[in-house]
Amino acid sequence: LERSTSSFSYSSYHTLEEIYSWIDNFVTEHSDMVSKIQIGSSFENRSILVLKFSTGGSQRPAIWIDAGIHSREWITHATGIWTAKKIVSEYGKDPVLTDILKAMDIFIELVTNPDGFAFTHSMNRLWRKNKSTRPGIFCIGVDLNRNWKSGFGGNGSNANPCSETYHGPSPQSEPEVAAIVDFITTHGNFKALISIHSYSQMLMYPYGKSLEPVSNEKELYYLAKDAVKALHEVHGIHYIFGSISTTLYLASGITVDWAYDSGIKYAFSFELRDTGRYGFLLPATQIIPTAQETWMAILTIMEHTLKHPY
């Protein structure tokens, strides 16, 4: 395994072991700012790890970023890793990021569905769900982005365990979801949540569970507009934006709805590239450009969160 992050290839896809080894090296090399927190264990008992970026203080207002809740979306883990590296390399140089980290903490969960991700490397590259099994249920796995308490079991999720959007037996039944809920709820001071998916080039905000606009919909609309503009300026990639239910489809029991209903006003979901040639099999040559453009959108959202405390 790699001995340091300097020989790690950020323009390649990696296995779970390589990513977890990178995390250890990364934390060792940036121990002044970065720490590793295990927030729980997956169904198959793998560690669920979060990177914390902090320049001090305690219980500071925080920003949550997660990647890979759907395991086949490999571009999201790769973008998360590049983003983590970007944060430590830009702190002290980029004035916006430096101001953010002087006042807030950033938490990144690089592999939100470790069992599913390991399975995409070992057995089925196109696996989406986690790997939970239950007595009497013939099919494996729950769609972790339908297992949250907000709108659980509603339209846009499926009660059929063999469906790719199976919501699971009950809200937060899955350890991968419960771990995040417990962590964010216990912390109690998260102000923004960004959940990274692929693909279709969209930036969306709640609700997915209904067509009803959220109370600060106008603010989220213009923030999303600014973020996709910043993203487009990097490599000219077009994103559409809006609420999940009006931009894409009804989806119930999703991360960003739970976050919003838990008081996190700035909750966004990214659908990264592909433009429509490769789908989930986006070539590794597109990892860096995708991460570079996504970074500008994430920075826009984080800056807005910093400047609009609540």
Binding site: S9, S11, S12, Y13, H14, S122, M123, N124, R125, L126, C139, C162, S163, E164, T165, Y199, S200, L248, Y249, G276, R277, Y278, G279, F280, L281, P283, A284
Partner: protein, 93 residues
């Protein structure tokens, strides 16, 4: 490692809600056969679906019989998977 030789991803452009629901019906008609990469959402958005080689003829006949325009986005998934694995191995070396 599952093999996806001959599997294709079809990009379907549904004209209206009726055609979208015909696509949604596929999940019931062919359970666990059709894998929506981009699920049926709204007429302005494409639907991408992975179809196993063994089902291609049936599914294409279904689409054509219902006047659903489609194109082949990925001709053979396994080819892309092999390229991806080779790229990972090369990077590791």
């Amino acid at each position: 490692q599952m093999n996806f030789t001959g599997d294709q991803v079809l990009r379907v452009l549904a004209k209206d809600e009726k055609q979208l629901s015909l696509l949604r019906d596929l999940e019931g008609l062919k359970p666990q056969k059709v894998d929506f990469w981009r699920a049926p959402a709204r007429p302005s958005l494409p639907v991408d679906m992975r179809v196993p080689f063994s089902e291609l003829k049936d599914i294409k006949a279904y689409l054509e019989s219902h006047g659903l325009a489609y194109s082949i986005m990925i001709k053979d998934i396994q080819v892309l998977l092999d390229e991806e694995r080779e790229a990972m191995a090369k990077s590791r070396r």
